[in-house]
Assembly symmetry: C2
Homo-oligomer: 480 residues x 2
């Protein structure tokens, strides 16, 4: 059955114009659309359903490590935001200010949360007294607002959805361990559920979060060779605790500071899924995160018994725990096939009169287009296998792409040449000076340090930029 | 084992000072606390966990009726809010205004959503074209802001959490049916999950939602005899559609208006649970909605084998699908018992050396304080039974209270006398005129019409107030 040309042509080729391809996929898969408010998107059912799956899975992983959910106010009084110097410097230029409530001008203006470190510190400064009150391991699912100038659906927006975890601990060791625990939760989630391989490490001082002592990051590589910072986990030491005077009485009855962490993952994750797995026919969703794992598509559905059999199949799949839907609309099968592909549903199951005669169905994989004939009474077992295989294949393909687009350089010229020839990650040594990061950025048209790799290799003894003694191997790249 | 006096005394008696009792329960059960932002609360883990259970259950019920979740922007441009006249009149006095983004003054100010009818209309006016695009049955879980003057935790706040469903349909019949479907979802949820009996009906014109043609409501009776409007479902007719010019081409190729509904339930539901079921020892959570259904409390836990046995029991309960925790802290058993009661956990399971010897545990019900000895190997079956029985008992008790506090009146004097003597609902006839509602309110110290009952009785032929011909039987009462 031929695909519907009109539908397929709605999407620009990925290698022709990646930015346009992205916009087309988002639109045609009905993930979101622009709202009447500049820089803010409407999350449509197909897009929001992905976020719900992300929430469900990540929230379970959080709770397994002892996280409790809370919800703190949307508005932050200006005086509170100003308590930690580095933090306010980082965020003040990009917050939205509420100045009036009803008909009255407020005595103090308040901003819509861009992130909530100060709100968590505020409550803890009033309620934490003894070591018995520690640790606090809290998280909230909410929206935040940052007044960005240029925005792109899911990747950068004035309002976006995320989770922000905030914790306080009695010792720096425990806080650092929590920072790394959450980094690993994000890593496992990305690799196991989203089939997205990563580069993992610590941010340099110029790239870390406003107010953090250390920022850890997971970085994924998009199909255009640009990196996407996908989730971060911060260790603050006692900086915020000191600014907010959060003290507790320890077991020896002495007053002591707490140590704080925070960590977050946002709806830009949906952008990562699109740009890592999508192809010229549209979205491809990894089966574990796909809100719908298959569409049953009856062929010649007006013929006697076809629709009944298709619904029987659908119910069997649902009962076996799969997320399945049926497309019994009056559109042509060709149109239905194209739409299922464009929406990124990982499989479709075709079932026509001939299939029914033979006691079989045809499962078509979205990733490879392979058509697999399966006896009807073996569908659920075989289907589970196919989904797992798609999940694995998507990861393997993305891993191969990541490896193929990761190179090394020992001089700035070499870095420049390689990144112009093939965009991706460049591993190179660094002396630890911000001035060298600035120079790399200047001379390469915007390449930045993505992270100090958690796995260190001694590629050279000197910095890729200044030639002084190298301290770290860093992943470099252009980024979103 | 004696309860801990100090803990119990932290809560004011319910009949002595109901408002103080409420504040005490909220504080001692650690459901929320006041934030540094006036009128906004911090939802603490114990309180937010109840909201998560509410969301989980209600969301499943929504989806069974075909609801899809979305997320629309937090900010509403002023011009958009002004498009529907009645709506803006209702909400303009109580919204928070954003006037600055970053360092810049906005060309048009925007308010933080007090409710999102206009945002849904805005997207539909741009995207709905044909009957094929209908119906839209959307919902969002979010926070909203209304600049209230006086606030109380969960019941009335400047920011609160809720869900708001919005739908459009091709015919008024279909839209009205959706309004009633959602009313019934709320009713079933309240009665089945929260064990809260209701009075159900339609709001009078003076009490309905700003811009609605009909507002349906579920009203619950709190222990102090005041009503709590617990969820509402609105039918808008074509009012919003006309204001926003949402038109579609029908099957006959003619341009037609859509018909809209909206419906919402908020975190005030947590307030309802507290005020319907709580007692002088604190919160009582119905088992189906309780985040934790039992606490295993080992007695003499330092003795050999007690802690192991208690953990074995805990794991058995968890594996059987119950939400169970253990309290193995170094506090005294008496303290632990009091705390479990105050937190509203529906049961505790006591297990000491003597119980282990006898091969039994003691399950203690929060609602009746009954102690039930159960053989260890029969715990999971018996426990399920006990939870169901608690659920039923809570509903029956609340239903009896509702019936005992519902009376009838045929004159205003009678209404006044009865409501002064025993606060609750008064059923009385009404002519349909707003002036009579005003007079009732004036002459009774604030009694308002709660709803035109869905079940009508002919209590009298004339209006309770003016003596003119009666049209409806109305539930009247004081309300939160």
């Amino acid at each position: 059955m031929a695909k519907d040309k009109k539908l397929v042509e709605a999407i620009t080729s990925r290698d022709e114009d990646f930015a346009q391809w992205y916009t087309d996929v988002v639109r045609e898969a009905k993930l979101c659309d622009y709202s009447g408010v500049k820089g803010c998107i409407n999350y449509l059912p197909n897009g929001y359903a992905i976020w719900e799956k992300i929430q469900e899975n990540l929230d379970r992983r959080f709770k397994e490590t002892g996280v409790e959910n809370v919800y703190l106010p949307l508005l932050i009084p200006e005086s509170l935001l100003q308590k930690e110097k580095d933090h306010i410097e980082g965020f003040a230029p990009e917050v939205a200010w509420v100045t009036h409530g009803g008909q009255e001008k407020l005595t103090e203006r308040m901003c819509i949360r861009p992130t909530s470190e100060v709100m968590f510190c505020d409550i803890w400064s009033r309620t934490v007294q003894s070591y018995r009150d520690l640790p606090k391991v809290w998280n909230q699912w909410c929206s935040v607002m940052r007044w960005e100038k240029s925005t792109r659906p899911f990747l950068r927006g004035r309002e976006f959805l995320w989770q922000e975890g905030h914790t306080i601990h009695a010792t720096p060791e425990e806080a650092e361990a929590r920072t790394l625990t959450m980094l690993n939760v994000y890593r496992d989630f990305y690799e196991e559920e989203l089939a997205i391989p990563l580069v993992v490490g610590r941010k340099t001082d110029s790239e870390k979060f406003a107010g953090a002592r250390d920022t850890y990051t997971i970085e994924a590589l998009m199909h255009d060779g640009q990196a996407l910072q996908s989730a971060t986990s911060h260790f603050f030491g006692e900086k915020f605790a000191d600014a907010f005077d959060i003290k507790f009485t320890d077991k020896n009855n002495e007053l002591s500071s707490v140590y704080e962490t925070s960590w977050g993952l946002a709806t830009r994750t949906i952008g990562a899924i699109i740009m890592v797995h999508g192809d010229d026919d549209g979205l491809i969703l990894p089966p574990r995160i796909a809100p719908v794992q298959t569409r049953v598509i009856p062929v010649a559905q007006h013929k006697d018994g076809v629709l009944d059999k298709a619904n029987e199949l659908l119910n069997g799949l649902k009962e076996a725990g799969f997320r399945a839907k049926i497309d019994d609309s009056d559109k042509s099968p060709g149109w239905k096939f194209s739409e299922q592909e464009m929406l990124g549903i990982p499989t479709r199951i075709e079932m026509g009169p001939k299939d029914i005669e033979k006691g079989q169905v045809v499962i078509v994989r979205r990733d490879t287009r392979e058509k697999i004939s399966v006896p009807i009474d073996a569908v659920t077992d075989k289907f589970a296998e196919i989904l797992e295989d798609i999940q694995k294949n998507l990861f393997d393909k993305a891993k191969k792409f990541l490896d193929d687009h990761t190179d090394t350089a020992v001089t700035l010229d070499e870095m420049n040449e390689k990144i112009q020839a093939k965009r991706g990650f460049i591993k190179a040594m660094w002396c630890g000076e911000a001035s060298c990061e600035d120079m790399v950025k200047d001379q390469t048209g915007g390449v930045t340090s993505r992270c100090i790799s958690e796995v260190q290799e001694q590629l050279s003894d000197v910095c890729v930029c200044c030639g002084e003694k190298a301290k770290y191997m860093v992943y470099w790249g252009k980024s979103y």
